[in-house]
């Protein structure tokens, strides 16, 4: 890779957070965290995609709170870095119009140990769902005016798992 690798040892400890309209490439993000390193045993990625909800949706519109979105995800990511021995952590969340099958969110967690990588990625996703300031509006395929997606109580319980 020609760009400065986020995976440099010097960069360990600083999560890489991006809020963007453009798509992302999971393989490139894995590469950024692992390139040139020989101490990483496990990389877990989570990719969240837009579903068509049984053919009902033409697209989702993702609204976000600029500034706070980055800051809140950074807070979540730093909690994860403090809680698990990670060598790197990346979170990318898209905004704007997103169609079924397209990517919405990516979390990549790298560690020497597989449980740490799995748990950190899952933790970041659970809190990203309940704390990151993003809101989804549905654009139905039938052209009717869409509704805002309602928050799901399962997401609150998922986040509550990590308490204590």
């Amino acid at each position: 890779m020609s760009k400065p690798a986020t995976g440099d040892k010097s960069a360990t400890g600083k999560p890489d957070i991006r809020i963007q309209r453009e798509d992302f490439d999971p393989a490139a993000e894995i590469e950024r965290l692992t390139s040139g390193r020989r101490d990483i045993g496990a990389v877990v990625t989570f990719t969240g995609l837009c579903r068509d909800e049984d053919g009902r949706l033409a697209a989702l519109e993702l609204e976000h709170y600029p500034g706070m979105a980055e800051e809140e995800i950074a807070r979540i990511a730093e909690e994860a870095m403090a809680r698990w021995p990670l060598t790197g952590l990346t979170a990318i969340h898209r905004h704007g119009r997103i169609e079924p099958g397209d990517n919405i969110v990516l979390v990549v967690a790298a560690s020497s140990h597989r449980q740490a990588a799995f748990e950190a990625a899952s933790f970041v996703m659970d809190f990203l769902k309940t704390r990151a300031p993003f809101w989804k509006k549905e654009h139905p395929l039938d052209g009717s005016s869409g509704e805002w997606v309602e928050a799901r109580s399962e997401d609150d319980s998922s986040a509550a798992r990590w308490k204590g």
């Binding site: 609204e63 976000h64 709170y65 706070m68 919405i104 769902k129 309940t130 809101w135 805002w148 309602e150």
Partner: protein, 84 residues
Amino acid sequence: MKLVYFSWIREKLGLAEEEVTPPEHVGTVGELLDWLGSRSEAFEAVLEHDKVIRVAVDRVHVHDRATPIDGAQEIALFPPMTGG
């Protein structure tokens, strides 16, 4: 101070942000919401969903309506998040 609104709160108010100067007796998040509700019918309608309204003060979530707003630059009102 600047108020910013998101999602259906923004839509119901027809407003993404506004600059306000609350009167002196408005010292907490809860008092701010009450004062905003007394200012406009649109905001009163939003407050019908008071229980689900989330508040961030200077880009940090606030979970207690008794949180003071003294010195705050930017207060955001939005429904529960549905990102990810």
